[in-house]
Amino acid sequence: MIKRVHFPSSPLPYLLVAPQIAITIVFFIWPAGQAMYQSFLIEDAFGFGREFVWFENFEILFEDPLYADVFIRTIFFSVMVAALSMFLSLILAGFADRVVKGATIYRTLLIWPYAVAPVLAGALWVFMFNPSVGIIAYWLDLIGVDWNHFLNGGQAMALIVFAASWKQIAYNFLFYLAAMQAIPKSMIEAAAIDGAGPAKRFWTIIFPLVSPTTFFLLVINIVYAFFDTFGIIHAVTEGGPAGSTVTLVYKVYSDGFIGLDLGGSAAQSVILMAMVIGLTVIQFRYVERRVDY
C-alpha cells in the first residue's frame, strides 16, 4: 500500500494529512463520541440537569413499540425501493444492451434523475399526486381511485417509494448496463446459435453473470434508502400522516431537533452508526469481488 520508492520521513507528510485529520476529528470523531456519551444521559424536562443512566435510553427505545414500528417500516421501505428501482433498471439495461444504434442516446435520457436532489424529487412527485391539482391524482380519480396521501398512510408510503425509486433508477441502470456490456459477445452468440431466444439468454446467461452487480447494487440501494431519503420524506409527507412514513433517520431528526429528546436521539444515532458500520463491512468484504465472474 505504500510505494516501494518513497520519500523519507519529514514534517511534510504531517502537514499534508493535517487538514483532513483536523476535520475528521472535529466534525466526525468528536461528534460521534458525543453521540455515544449523550446516549447514556437523560436530560430532565426543564433542561436543568443531566443524569448518567447507562443503557436506559436504549432500553426505552427497545421497549417502545413505536420504535419497533419505525424499524420495520424502514426495512420495508428500503426493500421496496431497492426492489422496484433495481427491477426497472435491470429490464431497461437488458433492452438497452441489445440496442446497437442509439444506445448512448437512451443512456443520456435515462441518467438525469441522478442529478435531481432528493427533496426536489419529492417536490416533483408530491406535485403530480397533489390531491387538488395533481395530474396523476386526477387520472386516478377518473378510474375511481381516491388519492389523498395527506390522509392515507399507505398512499403516503407508496408515494415516497415511487419518488425514491425514480431517483435511483439512473444509478442502477448505469451499473447494470456497464456490467452487461462487459459480458463477452461470443457467449451470447454461442447461445443464440444453440437456439436460445432473447428471453432465455437473458435469464440463463446475462442475469447470472451480472449477479455480483446485483449484490453490489442491493447494498448501495439499501444504504441509499436508509440515509439519503430524508429530503424526499421531509418534502412529501414530513413523516405523516400520523407517523406512517417516519424512517429511522427521520426519527433521529424529529426527536432531536423538534422533540428535543437529546438522549433518545443520541441513542438512535448510535444504533444507526452500528448499522452503517455493518453495511460498510459487508460492502468492503463482498463488493471487492464483484468483478470476478
Binding site: 510505494k3 485529520i21 476535520i23 458525543q34 448505469l174 452508526m273
Partner: protein, 283 residues
C-alpha cells in the same frame, strides 16, 4: 444485435421509450407547470402541454416573488449560495483528499496507518447519523449561518482519498525514481508529475462532488437560519409548505426547475466524466 428479429427489435425500442417517458415525465410536468400562469395552475386538471408564461414565471422567481405576500430571497441569490456551497465542498474535498492520499502513498512516517484508518472511519459516519452533536460542535465554534459552517463539516472524504490512493498506486515507481534523480523534491514532484497525471480523475471526481454539494439538504436546513444564506434546494421545502395555503405552483415549479438545472447540465454535458467518477468512487 445477435440475430434478425424485427418484431423484437421494435419491442426493444418501445420498452426503452416507455422507460424514458417514465423517467422524464415528472420533469416534463415540472416544466409545463412553469409555463402557465397562476389562474391556469389553480384549476384541475392541470395541463400537460406547455403554455406561454415561461418568462413571466422566470422573472417572478428570479425577483423572489415566488409566493405572494412572503418576502423571499431572489432565486438567483439562492442559486448563487448553492453554487458557492457546491464549489467549496467539491474543491475542498478534492484538495484535502489528494494531499492526504499523497502523504499516505508516497511518505513513510510514524502513524501513517493510524491516519489512514482515521480517514476510513469517516465512511461509517454519514452526517445524518451524527447530526445533532455535529450541529452542537458547529454552533459552539460560532460557525452557524456561514459558508464555512455550511461546507467544512462535509469536506472530509474517505472515498475521494481512496480514489486518489488507487490512482497513485497505478503510477509506476520509475516516475519517482527518475524525478528524484533529476533533483525534484516532494513539492515539485507533486505539482509537476502527480497533478498532471491525475487530471482526468480530478475532473471526474469534481462532477460527482459538485452534484453532491449542490444537492445537500439536511445539513444546510439546520445550519442556515439566516435567509440570506438559504440555498435553492432547501428553500423548495419552504415553498411547498406555503403551497398548502396559496398553491402558486407555477412559480414554485419554476424554482424547482432552476434548482435542478445546473446539476443536470453538468451530468449531460460531461457524461463520460460523470460515469467515470461514479464507477471509480463507489467501490
Amino acid at each position: 444485435m445477435v440475430e434478425n428479429r424485427p418484431f423484437f427489435d421494435t419491442l426493444t425500442h418501445i420498452i426503452l421509450i416507455l422507460g424514458v417517458i417514465l423517467i422524464a415525465f415528472p420533469i416534463w410536468i415540472t416544466f409545463v407547470a412553469a409555463t402557465h400562469d397562476l389562474a391556469r395552475m389553480s384549476q384541475a386538471p392541470i395541463p400537460i402541454w406547455p403554455g406561454s408564461h415561461f418568462f413571466d414565471n422566470l422573472k417572478l422567481a428570479l425577483e423572489g416573488k415566488v409566493v405572494s405576500g412572503v418576502d423571499m430571497l431572489p432565486v438567483w441569490k439562492m442559486m448563487f449560495n448553492s453554487l458557492i456551497m457546491a464549489l467549496m465542498i467539491a474543491i475542498g474535498k478534492i484538495i484535502i483528499s489528494i494531499l492526504s492520499a499523497y502523504a499516505i502513498v508516497y511518505f513513510d512516517f510514524p502513524f501513517r496507518m493510524g491516519f489512514f484508518w482515521m480517514i476510513f472511519i469517516t465512511l461509517m459516519l454519514p452526517v445524518e447519523v451524527r447530526i445533532l452533536p455535529t450541529f452542537e460542535v458547529v454552533a459552539s465554534l460560532g460557525m452557524l449561518n456561514s459558508y464555512l459552517g455550511l461546507t467544512v463539516p462535509l469536506i472530509a472524504s474517505a472515498t475521494a482519498t481512496f480514489m486518489f490512493r488507487q490512482v497513485f498506486l497505478t503510477i509506476p515507481d520509475e516516475m519517482l525514481e527518475s524525478a528524484r534523480i533529476d533533483g525534484a523534491g516532494p513539492v515539485r514532484f507533486f505539482f509537476d508529475m502527480l497533478l498532471p497525471l491525475s487530471r482526468t480523475n480530478i475532473a471526474a471526481l469534481f462532477v460527482i462532488l459538485f452534484i453532491y454539494g449542490w444537492n445537500q439538504y439536511m445539513w444546510p436546513l439546520l445550519i442556515t437560519t439566516d435567509s440570506s444564506l438559504s440555498t435553492v434546494v432547501v428553500s423548495i421545502k419552504e415553498m411547498l409548505d406555503s403551497a398548502e395555503r396559496t398553491p402558486e405552483w407555477n412559480t414554485i415549479m419554476m424554482t424547482a426547475l432552476l434548482a435542478m438545472l445546473p446539476p443536470i447540465l453538468v451530468i449531460v454535458s460531461m457524461q463520460k466524466l460523470f460515469v467515470k467518477g461514479l464507477t471509480e468512487t463507489d467501490k
